[in-house]
């Protein structure tokens, strides 16, 4: 059995009196695609952000390849973050740089990659997400779907071992959802380990290895998609599914 990429143990996170994550213990195996679903405000984003320490856990342990992140100093945390690419609902492209510059910035400034190599990699990645023509465009001129694909390419440029997605399609016009999900599906096929928060049930059913259903600060269910959608065990999950599928 391979070593899990991410191990979470008794993770808890509060904002003041608001106990968002209460007690979470799960692991992610290499190559697995985890889809996290659950009601709004249930702590899905907070959980994802705890994984790469954008949010500092209140208690508990988050281990990446066996190494407990919560014990590391700032510098090591920075370099560990490189290994976990993250894509946000709001793209967060740097508006003052072209698509190419967006992708090259982190490799060059953080890893010290030289310009030529970084440019070459960036062009390859753009091809992979189907945007080789838009290298010199500014983010403002892109559609939402295109921007999100650039964001994925940018995260991939750091050559991460895990990709975290936080509702990557929920800010998009319905027409553009498909093109982003397609790119993610390709990534999964290529064996990328992924943790995805999404409301796209089609994607969850088709691509996920496991569904984690999160509500009230706990992972309430952890199951295969077929099992979860066909026979949700908890009332919380049944209620959620009934609402979301109408």
């Amino acid at each position: 059995m391979t070593k899990p990429v991410i191990e979470v143990e008794s993770l808890a996170k509060s904002f003041g009196d608001n106990h968002v994550l209460k007690d979470i213990t799960e692991k992610v195996e290499p190559g697995q695609v985890i889809v996290v679903i659950g009601p709004s405000g249930g702590g899905k984003s907070t959980f994802l952000r705890c994984l790469n320490l954008l949010e500092t856990p209140t208690s508990g342990k988050v281990a990446f390849e066996g190494q407990d992140l919560t014990t590391l100093d700032t510098k090591s945390v920075n370099s560990l973050r490189e290994k976990m690419g993250m894509v946000f609902q709001g793209f967060n492209l740097f508006p003052n740089m072209t698509v190419l510059e967006n992708i090259k910035l982190a490799p060059m400034k953080v890893k010290g990659t030289d310009n030529a190599t970084a440019t070459k990699t960036a062009h390859e990645l753009l091809k992979r997400v189907g945007l080789e023509d838009h290298a010199d465009a500014f983010p403002d001129s892109l559609s939402g779907g295109q921007a999100q694909r650039v964001a994925i390419a940018r995260a991939l440029a750091m050559n991460p071992e895990v990709m975290l997605f936080d509702e990557p399609t929920s800010a998009l016009d319905p027409e553009m959802v498909g093109e982003v999900l397609n790119v993610m599906q390709e990534l999964a096929k290529d064996g990328m380990t992924m943790v995805v928060v999404t409301h796209e049930m089609g994607f969850a059913k088709e691509v996920a290895d496991r569904i984690w259903f999160m509500a009230d600060g706990y992972i309430q269910e952890n199951n295969t998609p077929d099992e979860f959608f066909a026979h949700p065990k908890t009332d919380r999950a049944k209620d959620f599914l009934s609402k979301i599928l109408m």
Binding site: L54, M86, F88, N92, F94, A106, V110
Partner: protein, 491 residues
């Protein structure tokens, strides 16, 4: 009333001389004074050129020259005698002695023919009866006759002058108000804060001839006419010379030459030009004002920006005790500066720093405005940094960038773009705020307008001119800034 101190000394000298008769006094016996001068062909006139419009220094064709109505009189006297005029400048106190010792042939220097002086020199007839006028608004001309017409009203005069004492002591039921500047008095008069302003006749005439809304009435102050009249002095006993010159003086008086020709001619040389009061004539003064206003603005924006960046960084410092102290200090500084008027800050820097180092007003002004501007700029920069979406920071951090790298490569470039409009506004604000350093005497636009005001005796026109000039500057600046802003947004 000219140089009373000199007068006193002169009297003392004169009294002294009555005890020890000088050699010149026996010239009285045989009077060949007229002959002697005409033989010499040159008449040396002594004068003390610091009493405009009587006599004063002016730059004529690039050379400092003695001019004034007394010089005109001297020329006329010399011409009528058929000789050349030579002018010797000296202090007023030395004039009598110089005459009596033969260094000069006559004195024309606004000298009053007092009894004390008469004992020692020979005076011609009075060529100019000076004295005091009261300047009033022309609309009130029917109302006021002289000093006694102002019962229940207010008269103004320059503090510390003879006329100031006169309005205090020689009027009844009249309030008196002293101000230091003649032109402020006129403004107060025109804005009906005063009913009349007492001043020496020639000044009054200058004001009235330059401002159609004013009129002058006699003051009727109770003063010996000796104290207000001027005559030419010759050596005692020069009867023939004096008689001859008296003819000239009588002619001058008969033809009213002083008022008609000499005073207007003298006026031309006054400081700048009291005749041409059009604003265009003062374009150089205004240009200097604009120059200094812009110098102050540009320097202050530059230093203010540097100070602002340092303060903004200091306000965001977090970590050890030192950094916390720094943050605390920067915060206190910014709050204090933003909580007090710039005028006080300017005064504080000028007078306060001045206790330790000798700073020119301009430097003090730039320092004060830069320090002030820095506090505001710091807030713009902080605001600019905060306005960068937190998502940008998170994206950068999730790519493995450190705090510093994130600030440098992602946040600051966007922040600076965001605050560019604020910085532009700050520039425009400083164009306006630089006006405040006028209070410490920097020759920027407002200061210059005050100079023009006192020069032209015109109260509102210079204010309107600089108002328009300020507007042109701020308007132009905002157009230019908008242009660059738009260009930056296209990038």
């Amino acid at each position: 009333m000219k140089k009373k101190f000199g007068l006193l000394l002169a009297i003392i000298v004169a009294l002294f001389m009555t005890v020890v008769p000088l050699g010149t006094q026996h010239a009285q016996a045989a009077d060949n004074s007229l002959e002697k001068i005409q033989k010499k062909g040159v008449l040396v006139m002594g004068t003390s050129p610091d009493y405009p419009p009587y006599e004063f220094q002016a730059t004529v064709n690039g050379k400092s020259t003695v001019v004034g109505m007394d010089v005109q009189i001297g020329k006329k006297v010399a011409k009528d005698l058929g000789v050349k005029l030579k002018i010797k400048s000296m202090s007023f106190d030395s004039l009598l002695v110089a005459l009596q010792t033969g260094k000069i042939d006559m004195i024309i220097s606004g000298m009053n023919p007092t009894p004390a002086r008469r004992k020692n020199v020979a005076f011609t007839h009075v060529y100019y009866q000076g004295g005091y006028d009261i300047v009033i608004n022309k609309t009130d001309k029917a109302k006021y006759k002289n000093k006694d017409s102002f019962k229940g009203g207010t008269l103004g005069a320059q503090t510390g002058t003879t006329q100031y004492n006169a309005i205090k002591k020689q009027t009844t039921n009249t309030k008196s108000k002293g101000m230091t500047s003649q032109s402020d008095l006129i403004l107060a008069l025109q804005s009906h804060k005063l009913d009349g302003v007492a001043m020496e006749k020639p000044s009054a005439e200058a004001y009235v001839s330059n401002n159609k809304q004013l009129a002058a009435i006699p003051s009727n102050f109770n003063m010996s006419s000796d104290a207000t009249s001027s005559a030419i002095a010759f050596r005692k006993g020069s009867t023939s010379l004096v008689n001859k010159v008296n003819k000239t003086v009588d002619q001058i008086k008969k033809e009213n030459l002083v008022k008609k020709d000499y005073l207007p001619a003298a006026g031309k040389y006054l400081k700048t030009n009291t005749v041409n009061t059009s604003m265009g004539h003062y374009w150089k003064a205004f240009a200097t004002g604009i120059e200094y206003t812009l110098i102050i603005t540009v320097c202050s924006v530059f230093f203010g920006f540097i100070i602002g960046i340092l303060l903004a960084l200091a306000r965001m410092a977090k970590g050890n005790v030192f950094k916390t102290a720094l943050r605390w200090l920067a915060t206190a500084y910014v709050e204090f500066i933003r909580g007090t008027p710039m005028m006080v800050q300017v005064m504080f820097v000028y007078f306060g720093l001045g206790l330790f180092v000798n700073l020119p007003a301009l430097t003090s002004g730039i320092i004060a405005i830069s320090l002030n501007s820095g506090a505001y700029v710091a807030e713009y920069i902080r605001g600019g940094i905060n306005s960068v979406n937190i998502g940008q920071t998170e994206a950068a951090r999730s790519l493995g960038m450190s705090n510093g790298e994130t600030m440098r490569y992602v946040v600051l470039p966007q922040a600076l773009k965001n605050i560019w409009p604020s910085l532009g506004n700050e520039f425009i604000t400083l164009i306006k705020d630089s006006s405040i350093v006028s209070i410490i005497g920097v020759t920027e636009l407002i200061y210059q307008s005050n100079i023009v005001r006192s020069d032209t005796y015109r109260g509102v026109a210079p204010i309107v001119v600089i108002m328009v000039l300020y507007f042109i500057m701020t308007f132009t600046a905002s157009r230019i800034l908008n242009y660059f802003e738009r260009r930056m947004q296209h990038d």
